[in-house]
């Protein structure tokens, strides 16, 4: 069963009509092929139309769509059975909200790291809703250093509502863990590609987000705070999340326009959740071509350009 967001209602309706026709054809033996084709055409037109006029708050909702593929699904599918998950930060424990390990991408070994969300209530808790503790960021850094040692490219898949704001997270230095990653990722002497595949919330996202190419999938968001929290802090009410989503300029298009990311990855018609297979194949192609592109530079050049890129970010007035 597919899940539908409120604004996906027209898509739901058409999908249900198509299913009903097909079911009745099975029962009655009547040929419905033409009618189904008409409806499918209408479905494509409706979906295109809907997705053309998506507002920022709708993009935020899509980034959290329950049917959206999560990091593990992308990684396992792209590496076709060659992914081996590596666990633990070697200090405290294994953080289930942060995953990592090598996998082969058409024969080439790549270090994949990502935040992982769960698909049902039990798994959501197991994955802590994709909110990593300090040990998650430290595991990520350990694995990135491992990749660097053997000159393997690094791909991070970002999908988090934020770093976990818990008591133990504070005790174990959440701030230091993220800060350390920012500093060390700047200097990794291998190609680093960071891709927002869902939610890119604040320091928790940036903690695995320093790369030579930072890319956002079409229906994702990336900003310093979620629209809900922004609404509650700046408007002192939870009712301004739609306004806040617009004000924060958090969509892929806005982030690209402001020069804060390097590119946008198009999603299948109707979003990644509507066609996992195609979303995976698009992502794989992008990662492969981006690695090939980055490999044209020496690793020292990559580090220098990476640092210069982030140093140039910011807009101010020389009064």
């Amino acid at each position: 069963m597919r899940n539908y967001l409120d604004f996906e209602a027209p898509i739901k309706e058409l999908n249900e009509q198509i299913q009903k026709l097909k079911d009745s054809a099975v029962k009655t033996g009547v040929n419905v092929e033409n009618a189904v084709q008409e409806l499918e055409k209408a479905l494509i037109a409706k979906t295109e139309d809907l997705y053309k006029n998506m507002d920022p708050w709708q993009r935020v909702q899509l980034s959290r769509h329950p049917d959206r593929p999560y990091a593990l699904e992308y990684i396992e599918a792209m590496t076709e059975g060659t992914w081996i998950e590596l666990h633990g930060d070697r200090t405290v424990k294994d953080d289930k909200a942060m995953i990592g390990g090598f996998g082969l991408l058409n024969g080439e070994s790549v270090m994949f790291i990502g935040q992982q969300k769960g698909a049902n209530t039990k798994m959501r808790q197991y994955r802590n809703f994709g909110m990593a503790n300090p040990e998650g960021y430290r595991k990520a850094l350990r694995l990135m250093r491992l990749a660097e040692k053997f000159n393997k490219p690094i791909v991070t898949l970002i999908d988090t509502p934020g770093a976990f704001p818990g008591l133990e997270a504070e005790e174990r230095g959440q701030g230091e863990a993220i800060a350390r990653n920012l500093f060390e990722m700047m200097r990794l002497k291998v190609p680093v590609i960071c891709i927002i595949i869902g939610e890119g919330a604040s320091g928790g996202a940036l903690g695995i987000g320093i790369g030579d190419r930072v890319l956002m999938m079409e229906n994702t968001w990336y900003s310093v705070i979620s629209p809900e929290s922004c609404s509650s802090i700046l408007w002192r009410s939870w009712d301004y999340k739609v306004t806040a989503a617009s004000a924060l300029k958090l969509t892929a298009e806005d982030m690209k326009w402001n020069g804060l990311i390097d590119g946008i990855i198009r999603e299948p018609l109707g979003g990644a959740h509507a066609n996992h297979e195609q979303a995976i194949s698009i992502l794989k192609d992008v990662i492969q071509s981006t690695i090939a592109d980055l490999r044209k530079n020496s690793n020292d050049e990559l580090v220098k350009q990476r640092i210069e890129k982030f140093c140039a970010m910011g807009k101010y007035v020389e009064a």
Binding site: L167, A169, L182, V224, L248, N258, L260, F310, M313, G314
Partner: protein, 283 residues
């Protein structure tokens, strides 16, 4: 001594608001309620003479404590905030900036000074909580960057005094990327083998903690400062119970291994100078 007059005026306003003591000639410690004159308080480095309570002070106050003879030149003093996203919440960001500049006499939430500390050159960047809660936007990031450049140019240490609520939401993505930018600049400083001391004061939270404030070659703090990533209210909501006594205080953060030492403001200059001397690379 113009900075001194300004500081006295600041305290006047504070006391007038409380309407407890007339004319602002007095300072009352919020911790132990001890009363002293504002002049005595300032001469005591803005500490309570009875309980040592460290009052929140400005960048100019810190510079007067640290720089020899209070002599320093400012770096990138002219930078002010743009409005990159044309952000409006209950008020337009542009107007908020204008009002804050006029009210506070500050240009933004970071001031960078270059001078001598016990005879040795140093760049000191210091946050001002009075400017939108010491929040980090593009100007803070760029001034930090130019401070690091100045330290590299002068071949001297870089010190940053943090006092911040975290990111400046009205600059959204730009604000977030200042965490990356300041960290990137610190890799350049490290490449030149120049010391970076992060000095954390009350309060240091959010994106500042999760970037440059925790990246010192040594991290030091004032006593009893609030230091954390998530604010205490958020942590309390997450765990659904009251926080333990002293949670996220300097002493707590030291105990958990993220600070090198805590220093009383009265000993700050001497101890900092000694640390810098100890770290100075052998040429």
């Amino acid at each position: 001594m113009s900075w001194f007059k300004r500081m006295k005026k600041g305290i006047t306003t504070q006391n007038q608001e409380k309407k407890e003591i007339p004319e602002g000639l007095w300072y009352q410690c919020p911790e132990c309620k001890h009363v002293m004159t504002s002049d005595q308080h300032a001469e005591n480095d803005w500490l309570c003479e009875k309980c040592d309570y460290h009052e929140k002070i400005t960048s100019l106050n810190y510079f007067s404590i640290l720089f020899d003879e209070n002599q320093f030149s400012e770096v990138a003093a002219h930078l002010i905030s743009g409005d990159p996203l044309e952000f409006t919440d209950t008020k337009a960001y542009k107007d908020r900036i204008k009002t804050t500049i006029n009210k506070s006499g500050l240009k933004d939430a970071l001031r960078v000074g270059f001078g001598n500390i016990e005879g040795e050159k140093a760049v000191v960047a210091c946050m001002d909580f009075g400017f939108i809660g010491g929040s980090m936007g593009s100007v803070v990031g760029e001034k930090f960057a130019r401070g690091v450049d100045k330290a590299i140019e002068e071949n001297c240490p870089f010190i940053c005094i943090s006092k911040s609520g975290g990111a400046r939401m009205m600059e959204a993505g730009f604000s977030l990327m200042q965490m990356a930018k300041t960290s990137a600049k610190l890799t350049q400083l490290a490449d030149h083998q120049l010391p970076y001391v992060s000095f954390l004061t009350d309060p240091t939270t959010g994106g500042v903690t999760a970037s440059f404030a925790m990246l010192g070659d040594i991290n030091i703090a004032e006593p009893k400062a609030l230091i954390g990533f998530a604010g205490p209210r958020v942590v309390k909501e997450t765990i659904g119970k009251d926080l333990p006594e002293g949670f996220q205080s300097s002493e707590f953060v030291l105990e958990h291994g993220f600070l090198d030492y805590i220093v009383n403001r009265k000993e700050l200059k001497q101890k900092l100078a000694l640390s810098l001397k100890q770290m100075k690379a052998k040429s």
